[in-house]
């Protein structure tokens, strides 16, 4: 059952070939069997899941349900879930039982989906390897000695290993796409403002966007359809109808204009990864797309820009964790100063503290113009690059990551080396455009992902291209050994 597509699961549930309870129990069993090796879940909500499954079964029996009714999923532990621990991968929130539901949790519950549990993640989504979690690193199902990528490491490991058919994830600088690439999944980060951020614990507010990791573009389209849409509780949510993503999947690609940014194929890209991407380009050409080189001249500045903007916003967003109203509080503080410094010093891990300090520094008196204001200006240059590119092409295609998954511990001592993992993904967050990663081959027996970037609100076209590619290839159908 865990290898079926969401469409197949939906049809089977409607045909009563198996019940949602049976399906849910199947995944819960797999979690029990495999998760100790992977550490993909922070919390498994078995009881809640079975309750939801029973409710879904009742609705299925009555007929007239939506396509997702009764289908299980994993929620990244960054989304607040009423009555369920929401840790954000941090000791700070180790005992935080959220008193409300995030908008997307409400929406997916409303669509009849069954939450299996909360997926592990880098602490406060800060990381590219899922090694900064308070709950320990997540392992890559393709090689347990390697990282699954981050920050949505739990989400991708769960889906890649068949411990959930699909999972939610978030992407601030590549946290959906990079882990999807490293685990042979399809992951989509929609346009900024397409999915509500209400109830998603903020890392960098102007960059954060929720999305999906799945086995295929079709699966991703189905779940994104249910998540997307205007939310009056989020001032940055866009009041604009959501396109029909699944209806668009079948369109032929004849005439599709694809741009290859030369900066994405420069020094630093692993030759094996490059080979896979180049092969993928050929497939697109064979499907009728035209391909040309484009330039994103400021792309090399996206990492430095990001490491000003994101820590600045993070240092501010994380100021609320002070041990007063919720979250970790140190024992026996005698003064307010002690309460703050020790609660935060104990509650946050090293990477989070580093970013808070960088952010505090760049916003400080005397440095604001040189760092923050400068970064905002370069951000516009990066945005303008994409504007120009999308005047010439429909989609931009390149690698998602420079390399395949690296080994656990390889980069933990060198923050800057870790940051460079996101060199190809960050620009889309800075510009606010949609982007996705999809499997396009293997190098050294490890998955390679290619990235598609689209113009604002062009998710449907991106998903269509990905789906057509997946009709012509079978990389996305391969399964990691040991998790069959």
């Amino acid at each position: 059952m865990h290898k079926l597509s969401l469409k197949q699961l939906s049809d089977s549930l409607k045909a009563r070939q198996f019940s949602s309870r049976e399906l849910t129990q199947h995944f819960l069993d797999r979690i029990g069997r495999h998760d100790p090796a992977l550490n993909a879940y922070v919390t498994v909500t078995a009881e809640r899941a079975l309750r939801q499954a029973d409710a879904a079964d009742a609705r299925l029996a009555a007929g007239g349900t939506g396509v997702l009714t009764g289908i299980p999923l994993a929620q990244k532990d960054i989304f607040c879930t009423l009555g369920v621990k929401t840790s954000c991968g941090s000791r700070m929130l180790d005992r935080f039982v959220a008193p409300y539901d995030a908008t997307i949790v409400e929406k997916l519950d409303g669509a009849g989906m069954v939450m299996l549990g909360k997926a592990n993640m880098d602490e406060f989504a800060m990381g590219s390897s899922n090694e900064t979690s308070w709950y320990g690193p997540v392992k890559n199902p393709w090689d347990l000695e390697r990282v699954p990528g981050g920050s949505s490491g739990g989400s991708v490991a769960a889906v890649a290993a068949g411990l959930a058919p699909v999972a939610t994830a978030t992407d601030t600088g590549g946290s959906i796409r990079q882990p999807a690439a490293l685990t042979n999944l399809t992951g989509i980060k929609p346009t900024y403002g397409r999915v509500s951020r209400y109830g998603m614990i903020a890392f960098a507010s102007s960059l954060d966007q929720a999305g999906v990791v799945a086995h295929s573009a079709e699966d991703a389209a189905l779940v994104l359809q249910a998540m997307a849409g205007f939310d009056p509780r989020d001032s940055t949510s866009v009041e604009r109808p959501v396109d029909d993503y699944t209806a668009a999947l079948g369109a032929p690609l004849r005439g599709l204009r694809i741009g290859l940014p030369k900066e994405y194929f420069a020094e630093g890209l692993d030759a094996g990864v490059r080979g896979c991407i180049e092969a993928a380009v050929k497939v697109f050409e064979s499907l009728g797309a035209t391909v040309k080189e484009v330039s994103l001249p400021n792309a090399p500045l996206s990492v430095p820009t990001y490491y000003v903007v994101a820590p600045a916003e993070a240092s501010s967003n994380l100021a609320r964790f002070d041990g007063v109203r919720y979250g970790h509080r140190t024992e026996g503080a005698k003064t307010l100063q002690e309460l703050y410094e020790r609660s935060r010093g104990e509650g946050f891990g090293a990477e989070v503290q580093r970013r808070i300090m960088v952010g505090t520094y760049v916003l400080s008196h005397g440095y604001y113009d040189a760092y923050y204001l400068k970064a905002q200006k370069v951000r516009r240059l990066i945005y303008d690059d994409f504007r120009r590119a999308f005047a010439e092409v429909d989609l931009v295609l390149g690698p998602t990551a420079q390399n395949v998954a690296f080994k656990l511990g390889d980069k933990t001592d060198d923050p800057v080396a870790m940051y460079l993992n996101d060199i190809y993904t960050i620009a889309a967050n800075l510009a606010g455009i949609p982007a996705m990663s999809l499997p396009c081959g293997f190098h050294q027996d490890l998955p390679v992902g290619m990235q598609l970037m689209g113009n604002f609100f062009d998710e449907a076209r991106m998903l269509n291209a990905a789906h057509q590619y997946q009709q012509a290839t079978d990389f996305h159908k391969r399964w990691p050994k040991g998790f069959a």
């Binding site: 989020d234 001032s235 501010s316 100021a319 007063v324």
Partner: protein, 481 residues
């Protein structure tokens, strides 16, 4: 001031709570006096993942203020985060405005004691959220935090350092207070903290063009305290400098019990608030149409109303000012004039003197007056149509205040209708003359002063109901013989 060579330079920062039902960024209630933390919703508490959405009425009120002080309304303004750690500030930052405030460059004219008018510049007014409250009493070694107030919309109104004395400061504050209440954007309740003032004070030698080092005095929550705090601070600064010391730029706290100010334990990060545009909120755009709509809906402002009262009703400047001191009072007065048809001046005397005097005694205000405008008009109508005299009217008014009914009922019940029938008055005069032959003889022999005695006797004989004009005229004729 200890020394005539010194000059004070004062600027005021006024925090004015906007009179909205819900908070500036969430749908929690803003009512004063609720049980602790019962109006602290998820957004107010700064729970992880929550987001702010701007209250449209708060924006409208801020723009209303800007238009009323003749300021620029920013076409585009932004919210910024101001960071500091304090337990009454749930998110670790206050959402405020920094580089681009909604209102900039206005002014307010105040009248000085010598009658001259001084213009005080308003540098800016920006929107922000209020903080919660720290309660220090009732806990051993602990402070309790109530976040009900957190997130209440404020405008912070910053004056230019144009103010030169505590008296000017109070005049400015009173004017500002009157204005925001007039505009209906603030309830003006200083005890409850709806209208709070911080005073930036420095001193310098007269003739000096540079400013001295200033202190900021907080927690001054009445006009009287503002005056006392500023006077204390001016005196203190002069003494420090004259004894060879230096003024430290610091925040000071006013203690109403001692009338003194003292240095607060400073928020150490005060000089590094790390402002940056709030990425959860988008730029606020006020279109010309939006602003024009608000301008069209502005109420008549106190100054314009006062001038109109002088011109249209022929009132003295003093009466006009009294009657326009609040919008409710002015409306009351105008309702009385309209409904009574009585002379505007008469109405002014009754409202400004009799009514306000009575309300003052009763500890009531115009909104809770036991005699409404229609009721008072009913009384003044009877003076105008000569049913009763002004003197009798006072008696009727007392009875109205005591709740005995409307003017006509009381006049009827007490038989107070004025006697205008001349034959009845003549008959009373005849009786008085007959009863006082000695006084009559004295009068006729030239003691004119006795005329008043006869008037009194006639009024007495008619229980005060005789029309005074008729009594005067007829008595003069009869006494002349």
């Amino acid at each position: 001031m200890a020394n005539d060579n010194w000059e004070a330079v004062i600027g005021l920062e006024v925090h004015c709570q906007l009179l909205t039902k819900s908070k500036i960024f969430s749908g929690a209630a803003t009512a004063y006096g609720a049980e602790p933390n019962t109006q602290a919703d998820a957004v107010t508490l700064g729970l992880p993942g929550v987001l702010p959405v701007l209250n449209g009425t708060a924006l409208r009120m801020a723009v209303t203020f800007g238009l009323a002080v003749d300021a620029q309304i920013a076409e585009r303004c932004v919210f910024a985060r101001k960071h500091y750690f304090y337990p009454d500030l749930p998110k670790g930052y206050q959402i405020s405005q920094y580089e681009l405030p909604i209102v900039s460059g206005g002014h307010l004219d105040i009248e000085l004691e010598d009658g001259s008018v001084k213009t005080i510049g308003i540098t800016r007014a920006h929107m922000e959220e209020d903080a919660g409250k720290s309660l220090h009493e009732g806990f051993v070694g602990q402070t309790g935090i109530d976040l009900n107030r957190a997130g209440t919309p404020l405008i912070e109104i910053v004056s230019e350092p144009d103010i030169r004395s505590a008296q000017e400061a109070v005049a400015y504050l009173k004017k500002l207070h009157q204005l925001v209440v007039y505009l209906g954007i603030c309830d003006g309740n200083m005890q409850e903290g709806s209208f709070r003032c911080d005073a930036n004070v420095s001193v310098r030698h007269k003739g000096e063009s540079k400013f001295g080092t200033r202190t900021e005095t907080k927690n001054v929550n009445s006009f009287r305290y503002v005056e006392k705090a500023i006077e204390y601070e001016i005196q203190r600064q002069i003494e420090v400098i004259e004894s060879g010391g230096r003024i430290v730029q610091e925040t000071r706290l006013f203690n109403p019990d001692t009338g003194e100010t003292r240095a607060m334990r400073t928020k150490e990060d005060a000089n590094d608030y790390r402002y940056f545009p709030d990425p959860d909120l988008l730029p606020i755009v006020c279109t010309a149409d939006y602003i024009a709509g608000i301008r069209a809906g502005l109420p008549e402002l106190p100054e314009a109303k006062r001038l109109r009262f002088e011109q249209d009703y022929g009132l003295s400047a003093y009466d006009a000012r009294t009657l326009t001191s609040s919008r409710e009072l002015a409306a009351y007065y105008e309702a009385v004039v309209k409904a009574s048809g009585a002379e505007a001046k008469l109405c002014a005397n009754w409202v400004a003197t009799d009514l306000l005097g009575a309300l003052n005694k009763l500890g009531q205000d115009i909104a809770t007056s036991p005699v409404g405008a229609d009721a008072l008009a009913g009384l003044l109508k009877r003076i105008a149509d000569k049913t009763i005299s002004g003197k009798i009217a006072k008696e009727v008014f007392e009875a109205m205040l005591a709740g005995e009914g409307d003017a006509d009922t009381i006049i009827q019940k007490r038989g107070l209708v004025q006697i205008t029938d001349e034959s009845a008055i003549i008959s009373a005069i005849d009786k008085v003359m007959a009863a006082n032959p000695g006084q009559l003889a004295d009068y006729r022999s030239g003691k004119d002063k006795l005329f008043g005695f006869f008037v009194g006797q006639v009024m007495k004989a008619t229980q005060g109901k005789a029309n005074p004009d008729a009594v005067n005229r007829l008595l003069k004729e009869k006494l002349a013989g």
